[in-house]
Symmetry: C2
Subunit: 282 residues, 2 copies
């Protein structure tokens, strides 16, 4: 397993591998890897001949009041996990190599990023799509896998790939959950034991709505209300948003018969968590 | 010479050519080709094994009050000229193929595009960098040539290539001029005979400043004043801007000893023309 930090070297290795006929898969991460990441990687390995994992805590997707400085990092632990997958190449660049002085180019997906997290984290998705475009040009993957926990991110990247004609297959991967339902996230490491218990309310709320959907309830606002009721029984959980939107367009009003994305963000203590379920056949 | 209109077919041919070891050069154009374009293409041919020319009047770089609808078009004439170069492949897509319903992704270079033409054509450079990013992903060139007449565009694209890690060499090409000094442009076709004579004032103004620079004058504002004086003697020419900026950063105040870009835009009748000279060693 090769570990590369220089962008130019990454690009050279990718181009050379492509010329030799490799099929490259990319799993972009911010490190502090958990089982959710590793499941994506196993899928990526299965679909390609060369697995590249990037580890980069991307500063441009954090707001000024967000947790960039304290975002959990453990490169040695990550590399040990990646050797067991195994990844073929780990790209772990420095921030200064990817954003040198004078950098001023942004990739922005305008409409899909307005609501949900986009409404609460100005600039976040612009940072995400910009770094992913850069990684695509450096790693030159044939396919890239993104987890559905960051559902709006997935939709923004799918849109960017189509709109900018990247010759890359974007593969979504289902949310991986802890035994108690909590969606896996590097930020779960911030939670105290009490907060960890409160955090269960998020998935429970979504599952309660999913059960009612399965029983025939279709009205988006009624489904939101079911979930909100569950959250309300946990005073340690502060909802940021809870919305039912069109799972494809993320429009506030899902078309009749179309799959619904029920998505939420909430603070548990100082930690911001997100989760979602998709209701209906995709 | 192959003519391709489908983006997916363009991408397939490029990828296949790359795998066979071709070195691809791209000259992006909006068609209605003149000798300036053809000079770029000869240079592109010299530097690569496969010359791709794109012809696409990109709607997203025109403002609502601009000349998109009447922009001159002559695909048959262009193809005849391209056969004589010869180009290996001409990519001439439809607007609907490059901007299908739902397209909403923009590539934007923020600082370099604020002044000069950017101040007078809101959204123009965003349209340029977005279409060029798309063409880069479709044509997958090793190098791309851009004329220095659109100097701010050249700088924006160089910046985009660096910032988004496109593995592409951007080659600038000097302005090609008519015998009387007028910079070649497809928009020169709009000019009446009288306007055509007035339009000579643009290059004469810049050359007058260049002569004074050669004679030792270095003050940017004084150089602008020399050029402005020449323009003022032609009442048919309405200056939009005339500025001396840093030729690298396009900052309003060029650093001492650094090359100066003297750039202008002006209306001659209803036609907007641009021109520039770079003063100093680059």
């Amino acid at each position: 397993m090769e570990v590369v930090s220089a962008p130019a070297e990454m690009q050279r290795l990718a181009e050379s591998a492509r010329r030799q006929g490799a099929r490259i898969s990319l799993v972009p991460t911010m490190g502090f890897l958990h089982e959710g990441h590793l499941a994506l990687m196993r899928e990526a390995r299965r679909r390609a001949t060369m697995l590249v994992v990037s580890i980069f805590v991307n500063p441009t997707q954090f707001g000024p009041a967000e947790d960039l400085a304290r975002y959990p990092r453990d490169l040695d632990g990550d590399l040990a996990k990646l050797r067991r997958i195994p990844a073929d190449l780990v790209f772990a660049p420095d921030s200064s190599a990817l954003y040198p002085p004078g950098a001023q180019t942004w990739v922005e997906v305008s409409e899909l990023t307005r609501g949900l997290c986009g409404a609460h984290r100005p600039g976040h998705f612009r940072g995400v799509t910009t770094i992913v475009a850069k990684l695509f040009n450096l790693v030159r993957p044939h396919l890239a896998i993104f987890g559905e926990k960051d559902f709006q991110q997935l939709r923004a990247i799918q849109r960017m790939v189509r709109d900018l004609d990247f010759d890359i297959e974007v593969v979504p991967f289902p949310i991986v959950r802890e035994a108690d339902g909590l969606a896996m996230s590097s930020r779960n490491a911030y939670l105290s034991a009490a907060e960890r218990r409160d955090a269960q309310a998020l998935s429970r709320a979504l599952f309660a709505a999913r059960d009612r959907y399965a029983a025939g309830l279709r009205d988006p606002q009624a489904l939101c209300a079911i979930a909100a009721e569950v959250i309300a029984t946990h005073p340690g959980v502060q909802l940021e948003y809870l919305e039912a939107v069109d799972a494809e367009t993320l429009d506030a009003a899902p078309g009749a018969g179309r799959p619904i994305l029920l998505a939420l963000a909430a603070r548990v203590g100082a930690t911001r968590l997100i989760d979602n379920v998709v209701l209906g056949d995709r």
